[in-house]
Symmetry: C2
Subunit: 323 residues, 2 copies
């Protein structure tokens, strides 16, 4: 499988320039005419020349590698964030190193030491919860995604959960629903508390806190039906799917009698639900892209500070609109 | 956040040796006494010294970085495989670079060029399908995980799907079930075809091929009920969940009247199903660990050849055993 590797001198010979000129042309340095740069690039493309990233790393003092440090072993949240990060970084020819800390502080410390020793250019820190987290202690540019750093001097990109939850209420009220109730996850989870608080003013009952499970959605449905709601907003798609299942089993029509909304736009739940769920998409790929862009700016010496909140997006489907 | 970095000369001073001796002690090279090595290591630990991985890379000609190239954007299969790969590599202080090709051959080519330029030590190739795939063309050690390479000279680690599917039949027959039927995904998917073939001899009806969806599980249930099965084995947990839902809606008891098995042990489906599913766990973390171990051996100059099949594991739950 070995193939002979093309060297910069081969490219220079084909382009009719010196190796030094070829190197400048490919690295976008030095004073060269556009025409010379173009000729060298064509020669490099023709020969399939791949510049030695290690040489570039040495001469620039950079490794062109960024780490994504995540506590989300399931990948539910970190995979779309990673796609966004990778989108931006790979366009800039940076590699993304993945480090899954599995929510273990010792593992996190050990990764951070290895990343510093390795000389990565920067780190994106993410996880599966939205609770602000203590900053990591490294002499490198860092951006926090999904969960903000508790240090306001750090750069964080998070989802505007309150606005996302409020959008479900505006949507339901626009459909004429007035007796709205809310079923969500554990009250001590920031994502549950924030979503519940954002919808509280519109509710006809107290929010019901429980678990992030379909089972809880089914159980809570029985509890809230006594209040005769015409809409149930849920803190997650899993809960909403459970609500829809239970309502169907009770012979209650969704959305004619009771409209239902989820949260997350997790396809395996939101689309498999009967009916498919109106829900809130966290736009996690966007979040990853923004975090990576901020990190690139920090690496270039222009760090941002503070928390940037990105909008979530209401996605409407049959659970509120009907077939 | 910058902190002063500790240098090898600081470690040497504290240990009372020369910088050269300290370097040899930390790199496990040279002729030094155990005692000297231990003293240098203690000094390094005391000062929080992190050796410069780039220096090590230069002197060894290695980057201590391995790439995981995946076509599985959802992460359903690649996340557990990645955890396994990372387990083995991070224990050896290698970093895992993630490259998500999104099933796009151009993107794959572009990643491979970048990885070669970067000088990664090796590549693990994985994806979301089990169909053998054409080998990648790089002058580096490569191991294929989940989907084998079509080149028998390459090293591949895959799941023994036929044995996994056969285990569900043995289990059902052990429970006295005799009229077994099979519902699965598209016939042109290797994972569907192989699982169907492995159970064919035990079936009372032809396998039903369709989609990897809950909806297909519900629809197919109506089709197979005419044959009065006492067990339905499914090619995926999603299909099995749909089967259980439809049977419950028809008032048929699972497993008393009809036992149901899934495939994949995907928690969000297998555990949320009513009842929870007896299913086959692909042990993807193990797969990742084995692939990474084979890659390390290849990097050390001892490449393996051919396809290694790892066993899947039957996981029994209420859908066959009852409450």
């Amino acid at each position: 499988m070995k193939r002979p590797s093309v060297r910069i001198t081969d490219v220079a010979a084909l382009a009719g320039v010196s190796a030094g000129t070829a190197s400048k042309a490919l690295n976008n340095t030095g004073q060269l005419s556009q025409e010379t740069r173009a000729r060298v690039r064509r020669a490099a493309a023709q020969l399939g020349f791949t510049p030695d990233a290690r040489g570039r790393a040495l001469s620039s003092g950079r490794t062109y590698t960024v780490a994504l440090l995540t506590t989300d072993s399931s990948g539910r949240f970190s995979i779309p964030i990673m796609r966004g990060v990778e989108d931006v970084l790979s366009a800039g020819e940076l590699a993304t190193v993945l480090c899954d800390t599995r929510d273990d502080p010792l593992r996190e410390q050990s990764y951070l030491r290895a990343l510093v020793a390795r000389g990565v250019d920067g780190i994106v820190v993410t996880g599966r919860r939205t609770e602000p987290r203590p900053p990591i202690d490294v002499p490198l540019p860092v951006v926090y995604a999904l969960a903000a750093s508790t240090d306001p001097a750090d750069a964080s990109v998070i989802v505007d959960d309150a606005a996302g939850a409020a959008a479900t209420i505006t949507h339901l009220q626009g459909l004429g629903r007035t007796r709205i109730t809310h079923i969500t996850g554990p009250a001590h989870h920031r994502s549950a508390a924030e979503r519940a608080e954002a919808v509280a003013a519109a509710l006809c009952t107290e929010p019901l806190f429980g678990e992030w499970t379909e089972r809880w959605g089914r159980q809570a449905t029985d509890l809230v039906l006594r209040q005769r709601p015409d809409a149930i907003t849920c803190g997650s798609d899993q809960i909403a799917r459970g609500v829809c299942d239970r309502l169907r089993e009770l012979g209650r029509s969704v959305p004619d009698e009771i409209a239902v909304t989820g949260y997350d736009n997790w396809p395996v739940m939101a689309l498999a639900s009967r009916p498919p769920l109106t829900t809130v998409d966290l736009r996690l790929e966007d979040l990853g892209r923004r975090a990576a862009s901020l990190l690139l700016e920090a690496i270039a010496g222009k760090p941002h500070h503070g928390v940037l909140e990105l909008p979530a997006q209401l996605v409407t489907r049959e659970s509120t609109l009907g077939a």
